[in-house]
């Protein structure tokens, strides 16, 4: 069994909170609604809260890695300050984002593939897919059938917390369910 972060609880319980469309008020989510903005869908179940970085330690264009929501290989993510506002971006410049580093095509490793000039993650070394980190990890060009899963972030003072995942992480059948 994989390690779980201490903050995680009730992993077997599935309690989806869905919102979508510009007219939906995301009451009570606070930071999440700021993070994802009107019109962006989000699905948050009982994801754990995990502190993943500090705003003051970030260098623009230099990614940090962290694991979330589990501690296995598939849960490897990167967090980066893009320098431009991004979908789901947090922090004063709305430019701090975090994404899974497994390609949603066939799981190729994207760690180390960040291109700061273009705010692109990729190309994936397997089949050359690239993802646009300013637009929720949308495929810029390539073969992936899902956007890159975006880690929902929340800033509290200097602390950056991961609070959820938008999109299914490569390899999982469910981000939250028990694995084999």
């Amino acid at each position: 069994m994989d390690d779980l972060s201490d903050e995680r609880s009730c992993l077997s319980r599935r309690a989806f909170l869905l919102s979508g469309g510009t007219a939906v008020a995301i009451v009570g989510l606070g930071p999440l609604s700021r993070a994802f903005g009107a019109g962006t869908a989000l699905q948050v179940a009982s994801y754990p809260r995990k502190r993943v970085a500090r705003v003051s330690q970030l260098v623009e264009g230099t990614p940090l890695t962290f694991t979330y929501p589990w501690n296995d290989l598939n849960s490897t993510n990167m967090l980066v300050k893009l320098g431009v506002p991004a979908g789901g971006g947090v922090g004063p410049g709305r430019d701090i984002v975090a994404f899974s580093t497994l390609c949603t095509h066939m799981g190729g490793p994207l760690a180390g593939q960040y291109r700061a000039q273009y705010r692109i993650l990729g190309p994936c070394p397997l089949h050359l897919t690239t993802f646009d980190l300013t637009k929720h990890g949308m495929v810029a060009a390539g073969q992936a059938t899902e956007s890159l899963p975006q880690i929902v972030l929340d800033v509290s003072g200097d602390e950056i917390w991961a609070t959820g995942v938008m999109g299914l992480i490569f390899g999982y059948h469910s981000n939250l369910a028990v694995r084999a």
Partner: protein, 889 residues
């Protein structure tokens, strides 16, 4: 500032796993030529499999492994109806595949196949559900029988009064053997109409005459060959964008992962950038000028003596061998042997002499015309043909596609095949000359196109296939049945065609005002008799404008996954595309609809019970052809089984045609013209055409064809951008398929491409005040269009210069809007858009003057004035449309 648009694509964070007892079917992708193998799992709602290998039908533990082809992404799942009950469906690339998409590789297009399945709760709910007739201006549901009655009534009238050539069909040519067999049996055997055109061109005939005439089948290669090559010359195509898995599985990997890639394109695409990074070469060619580029490379090869002399000695026809057949086969040029004897095909010595003395093959001239630096042209020649120090030659292969054959069809393809042959390619492993391919190969003709009835004729006596668009524009068609194509947007100068269609359909005074079939037929007769046209549109979705605005009858078709079908991919691999769910509403496969109409007309031989019956009947028409599957059907018959069921057993692997019987088994054919293939005597139903082991010419030797820039120069000059115009060339991108008929219903794809785009060079953009994300107008006030001139008498009658002189060239206007993407990927002076984006087809600014020899359009040679309209709603959106460069490698 425009208001940002937010697409509401909602990524899921889980996907249901198929339980152990889920039903499994095999199929192949519905889209591109590569034809990846897929498995389909269906099971009733209410249950799910578990994450342990023992708990799910995939037999793997979750998390699924990296690059193992066993992960299900949420876009691979949908909910459909099976026998009337709601079921989960998972459509996943076959992770067990050893062929095509090895280990479950896939493209973004195939990977989201599940989303094309009809689900009333998703955008696919827009599927056509009922036959409909436009009564008092509105499409309204009617029973199938009534639709057939109206169609037959007006058809009889048109055929009786105006003849076969006034009764037209415009259909897909690839939508599975069972459907195209029925379509061709109706069009060419029962009706016998010459007014027929496939979806992607104005009439039947060869797409790559330069290959056909040389004796090379356009799909002679296997994917293994592209994998094994040392160097590949890619002309007018980037398989990474359009044949994804051919590139990612076979070209990036395959037998020789270190191969070098040469791309000749006006635009540095992802594949071109990747190839260049790995020691390859990018040749930034000006649209339409590949002929001189090919000739210049060939000339350098000959000047240096780098040609493959041993191959040429054995496999290239000499002058005598070309002349020996008295007009049949050896010259292999349908035009030549009546009209241009000796103009194209010559032996090696004569070819060499001609090329070395031909001014348009000179390096400096070629550099100036094609825009490709001389040093790059020289380097290409070296990479393709210069023998190594030990005397061995690089295994060179040659891939071509629409970028060259839809700009200068004849000149580009003849010069291309000659270049490949000089390098020793065409009939050996890793050394092939082939198309990369577009759509899959699903045409099985029940009868030949009746060319003798065509209104068109070459200079001399030989008949020529029709240009159906010109035929319609000139008012000769009274009834048109459109199956599975947008027609106008897929053709050149689209908006002029749309205007014509509007005028002769809805613009006609006679519109159906009653549900009574007899009254409807009487109205439509008056339409036809007053110069108007009746349109039937058959498709899976409402198609604008042919179905939504112009059609009198709209018929709902059932397609992929909704019927058992068969088809071949780009290496002639035949597979069964299984039915796994219920078609929506009253939708029926094309063959069923065609048969219903044919019976209403009183035609015999349209009484099939199911698609397998058609497959078995059609097999005899494949005999002796490259798609020959007759031995498979014969084998099934011997075993007392249905042929579809025998093919089903072969799963995603299928079998490569032509199929041969060896002993008790069936054997596929890896490549055509294969000089390494050893054949025993033909057994059972097997045939052994000479082209299995030799080239497809009278002598079995390939023919070098001369190409003349002068034949094309007048047209190329006439369509050049002038003043502040730019080339507006067009093509495909990885994330979309064809007219976007399914993509429009996939939020995942529409967030990426919500609008047509235009790639424009930074210098050209700056001069027009354009930034990425701006909405721009592309307008061409002089879209050249040919009228009339169906028949040539003297040799030069159908040349562009002669047509213009005779008053057969007019012009129309075309325009579309696009979101600008400023990019150094395109060369200065050239812009690039998606050819047929829904609502904004780049084909609108493309001239409609076909190649005079082959009737193929010069789709890639559009031009226009680009002006900024303002900011698009995507410019500042954080959720829709990416403006990042596509070619980051």
């Amino acid at each position: 500032m425009a208001t940002p648009i937010s697409y509401s694509y909602q990524p899921e964070d889980r996907v249901p796993l198929p339980p152990r007892d889920a039903k499994v079917a095999t199929t192949a992708c519905d889209y591109c030529i590569v034809g990846c193998g897929y498995k389909v799992y269906t099971w009733p709602l209410g249950r799910e499999g578990g994450p342990r290998a023992t708990q799910n039908a995939l037999g793997v533990d979750f998390p699924a492994g990296i690059n193992a082809g066993k992960w299900i992404s949420p876009n691979m799942h949908n909910v459909v109806h099976v026998d009337g009950a709601p079921h989960h469906v998972v459509v996943i690339p076959d992770g067990d595949s050893k062929v095509v998409n090895v280990q479950g590789n896939h493209s973004i297009r195939g990977g989201v196949l599940a989303q094309k399945c009809f689900n009333p709760n998703r955008p696919s709910q827009e599927r056509l559900l009922h036959p409909m007739m436009r009564v008092r201006g509105t499409l309204q549901a009617i029973p199938w029988e009534k639709a057939f009655e109206v169609m037959a009534g007006i058809s009889r009238h048109v055929l009786d009064r105006y003849g076969e050539a006034a009764w037209a069909m415009k259909t897909h040519s690839y939508g599975y053997f069972e459907n195209t067999y029925a379509i061709s049996k109706l069009a060419f055997a029962a009706i016998n109409t010459p007014a027929y055109a496939p979806h992607d061109k104005p009439g039947p005939g060869a797409d790559t005459p330069g290959l056909d005439w040389a004796g090379i089948d356009a799909f002679s290669a296997s994917y293994e060959d592209w994998g094994a090559a040392d160097v590949i010359y890619m002309a007018g195509t980037d398989p990474w964008e359009t044949k994804s898995v051919l590139f990612t599985s076979w070209i990036m990997n395959g037998g020789n992962p270190d191969k070098k890639l040469i791309f000749a394109l006006p635009r540095k695409t992802t594949g071109a950038a990747w190839g260049e990074q790995r020691g390859g070469l990018f040749l930034p060619v000006i649209p339409g000028t590949d002929t001189v580029l090919h000739l210049a490379i060939a000339r350098i090869i000959l000047e240096n003596g780098w040609e493959d002399r041993e191959f040429i000695r054995t496999w290239i026809a000499n002058d005598w061998e070309i002349d020996v057949g008295m007009g049949r086969g050896p010259r292999n040029t349908p035009v030549e042997w009546f009209t241009t004897w000796g103009r194209y095909g010559v032996g090696f010595d004569a070819y060499k002499k001609w090329l070395l003395g031909y001014k348009y093959a000179e390096l400096a001239t070629a550099e100036q015309i094609s825009g490709v630096p001389a040093a790059s042209i020289r380097q290409a020649a070296e990479m393709l043909a210069k023998p190594r120090a030990d005397g061995s030659r690089p295994k060179a292969s040659f891939m071509l596609e629409k970028g060259i054959y839809w700009s200068n069809n004849l000149g580009n393809t003849t010069s291309f095949s000659a270049l490949g042959l000089l390098c020793g390619a065409g009939n050996r492993p890793g050394r092939v000359i082939s198309r990369g391919g577009g759509h899959q190969r699903g045409w099985m003709g029940a009868a030949d196109y009746p060319r003798m009835l065509s209104p068109e004729k070459f200079p001399g006596r030989r008949k020529k296939e029709i240009d159906l668009d010109r035929w319609v524009e000139d008012g000769n068609v009274r009834f048109a049945w459109v199956i599975g194509t947008t027609w106008m947007q897929a053709m050149a100068a689209s908006q002029g065609l749309i205007e014509t269609f509007g005028r002769i359909t809805r613009g006609n005074a006679h519109q159906i005002a009653s549900f009574d079939p007899k009254a409807a037929v009487e109205t439509l007769k008056r339409r036809a008799d007053s110069g108007g046209m009746v349109v039937v549109d058959q498709d899976i979705y409402p198609v604008d404008p042919i179905g939504t605005q112009f059609a009198d009858l709209v018929l709902p078709a059932a397609g992929w996954g909704e019927e058992d079908f068969t088809r071949c991919n780009g290496e002639r691999r035949l597979r069964l595309y299984s039915k796994f769910y219920d078609p929506p509403g009253e939708a029926r496969p094309d063959w069923w609809i065609v048969a219903g109409f044919a019976r209403a007309m009183g035609f015999k031989g349209f009484d099939w019970k199911d698609s397998n019956e058609i497959f078995e009947e059609s097999a005899r028409f494949s005999r002796g052809d490259v798609l020959n599957y007759y031995p498979l059907v014969a084998s099934a018959k011997r075993q007392g089984r249905r042929a579809h069921d025998l093919l089903r057993e072969l799963g995603t692997q299928g079998i490569q045609t032509p199929i041969r019987q060896v002993g008790d088994g069936l054997v596929g054919t890896k490549r055509l013209h294969d000089s390494t293939l050893e054949l025993g005597p033909p057994e059972g139903a097997t045939t052994h055409p000479a082209w299995l082991t030799a080239f497809n010419s009278h002598t079995g030797k390939a023919i070098l064809l001369r190409s003349y820039w002068e034949d094309f120069q007048d047209f190329h000059e006439a369509v050049q951008p002038v003043g502040d115009e730019l080339w507006v060339t067009n093509g495909r991108i990885n994330e979309m398929w064809q007219s976007g008929f399914d993509d429009l219903r996939r939020p995942y794809i529409m967030q990426r491409w919500p609008h047509q785009f235009l790639e424009i060079h930074p210098d050209d953009a700056k001069a027009r005040g354009i930034e990425s994300g701006d909405l721009v107008a592309i307008e061409n006030d002089k879209v050249l269009v040919q009228t009339g001139a169906y028949q040539g008498v003297d040799d030069a009658d159908l040349s562009f210069t002669a047509l213009r002189k005779a008053g057969n060239i007019t012009s129309t206007r075309g325009s579309f809007s696009a979101v600008a993407i400023v990019s150094t990927a395109v060369r200065k002076g050239v812009t690039f858009a998606y050819f047929g984006f829904p609502g904004n087809p780049a084909n609108a600014v493309v001239p409609r003057v076909p190649d005079p020899v082959t009737n193929r359009y010069r789709f890639k040679l559009g031009k226009g004035r680009i002006t900024k309209l303002g900011e698009s709603p995507y410019k500042r959106s954080l959720t829709s449309m990416s403006f990042a460069p596509r070619n980051i490698v």
